[in-house]
């Protein structure tokens, strides 16, 4: 029997993404065949964020992608609101009671103790807002959560809180891809590190057997991956 941990949940190979003349990804692989994305071994295609979400992939963004004047419950369910049953449901009425109760459950399961899910997100601190975004992704992700610089917009203390939340999501058995420049954060929570250089994956390393400075050296090109000790490579 194969160890399920050895079977990649998400595989992407030969990805290319350009923004104008800047090439962000240049044939990048990510454990993830030419320009293919495999989910549980099956090829999938995404045309927009909704396709990815439907496949059980959730993303947390750097810039706190929340609607400030709306409630925590509404932000958690934005785009996926449950409807009521009966005539009102047929008319399109949302099941607000269920939204509030489930929002509370999701937030509590990550130990984010906010009293009222009716509270507008703008009344929360930056860390708490990102907490709402993390809870949202954890609530709906079935395969993987991608976190794109989730702590970049936050202060040190708040960043650490969000890091703790990410650890809790991971401990539940949900794979997390953390995209970050913040080496202390990466080393604190990552099980494996993919080092990206010039739009390609330079190396996959084990954070237990490599130093931060070696990681940065590979990222900046000061050191070639072959120069790393064998045990550092994952």
């Amino acid at each position: 029997m194969t160890d399920p941990r050895q079977t990649p949940v998400l595989e992407a190979r030969g990805l290319v993404k350009r923004y104008g003349h800047v090439t962000a990804l240049d044939g990048a692989d990510f454990q993830l065949l030419a320009g293919e994305i495999l989910l549980d071994g099956k090829p999938v295609r995404f045309h927009n964020p909704l396709d990815a979400r439907r496949q059980g992939i959730e993303t947390v963004y750097q810039d706190l992608a929340v609607a400030p004047a709306m409630s925590i419950a509404e932000n958690l369910f934005l785009g996926r609101e449950p409807k009521r049953t009966g005539l009102l449901g047929w008319l399109g009425a949302l099941d607000k009671k269920r939204m509030l109760a489930e929002a509370m459950r999701h937030m509590q399961s990550l130990k984010i103790g906010i009293r009222s899910m009716k509270q507008a997100v703008e009344t929360l601190s930056g860390g708490q807002r990102q907490g709402v975004a993390v809870a949202r992704s954890a609530a709906f992700a079935r395969h993987v959560v991608i976190m794109d610089e989730p702590t970049a917009a936050l202060g040190v203390k708040e960043g650490n809180m969000v890091l703790e939340l990410i650890r809790r999501v991971r401990d539940r058995g949900l794979p997390v891809i953390l995209i970050s420049h913040n080496m202390p954060h990466v080393f604190e929570i990552a099980d494996r590190i993919h080092i990206a250089r010039l739009g390609k994956r330079a190396a996959v390393v084990n954070p237990k057997h490599i130093s931060m400075s070696d990681t940065v050296a590979v990222m900046t090109g000061a050191k070639r991956p072959e120069e790393l000790p064998a045990q550092a490579l994952a």
Binding site: N48, P49, L50, R53, R54, T59, Y61, D63, A65, V66, A67, P68, A69, M70, E74, L78, G79, E81, K83, L88, L91, G92, A93, L94, K96, K111, I112, G113, I114, R115, S116, K118, Q119, A120, E122, T123, L124, S125, G127, Q128, G131, K157, E158, M161, E164, L165
Partner: protein
Amino acid sequence: MLPDLATASPTSIRGRLLAHLPPVATLGPLLALFLAGAFFTSQTDRFLSGSNFSLILQQVMVVGVVAIGQTLVILTAGIDLSCGMLMAIGSIVTTKLAVDSEMNPYLAILCGLLVSTAFGFLNGALITRVKLPAFIVTLGTLNIAFAITQIYSKSQTVSGLPEALEFFGRTFRVGQTAVTYGTVLMLIMYLVAWFVLRDTAPGRHVYALGNNAEATRLMGIDTARMLLVVYTLAGFVYGIAALLLVARTGVGDPQAGQTDNLDSITAVVLGGTSLFGGRGNILGTLLGALIVGVFRNGLTLMGVASVYQILITGILVILAVTTDQLSRRKG
């Protein structure tokens, strides 16, 4: 372990209060309406009467309906300067076809609605596909619709309307007050809009779009399509306002609708909806429209000339926007 997240009360006392109190923005307009009513009652004994209330309601129904479309647009953080002219062109198309071309009046109504709606669609398409600012697009369509209205009608008033076009101007009595069917239609439209905006997913997405368009898109909501629908729907609503206008005045007037642009924005803003989008309440707009109506009516009863009324409306709208702006800055 996580002190702040664990206790996780909102960051400030003000924040905590905000979470539990209804927004001041929704109480303000009600208070303003009562104060204005009390003021005019003290100034003229003709204000507080059933017949005067009928008059206010009839005056309010047209701008009241236009303001529904305007509210939808402003909630998405947009603006519609063309609303009055989209209404005017709808009313001229309907009356010209029904009177001069002797078309079946119901078919003529349909054509008028179609023209207003098509202009709304044009606004939405230019804003979402060509990605032009709403302000410039609707300023452009305002002028285009106005010019076509003048050319098509040769700037002549259309009179001798068939009965079917006057239905919404007819009245029934509730106590001393004569209420038009148009007013009833307006109230029904407000209730429908209120339900949709407050309780359904598309309604909540309008708020989310006005709050944070990029976040809304990332949550898988097709925001471009939503904006297109909102501007098109607004055009349709102005088409209905055109029917009420025709029914109330009994003519097709090519000069109509010129004050409704600013009046509808005034009603929306007085009603506590933020011009920055994503915050507000459609029932506030109804109160806002009533405030505008009460001011116009009360000042007329006091014998204040109409230029001063325009002056006062201008001051009102700036006061309301200032209040909105200041409350955001504090937050």
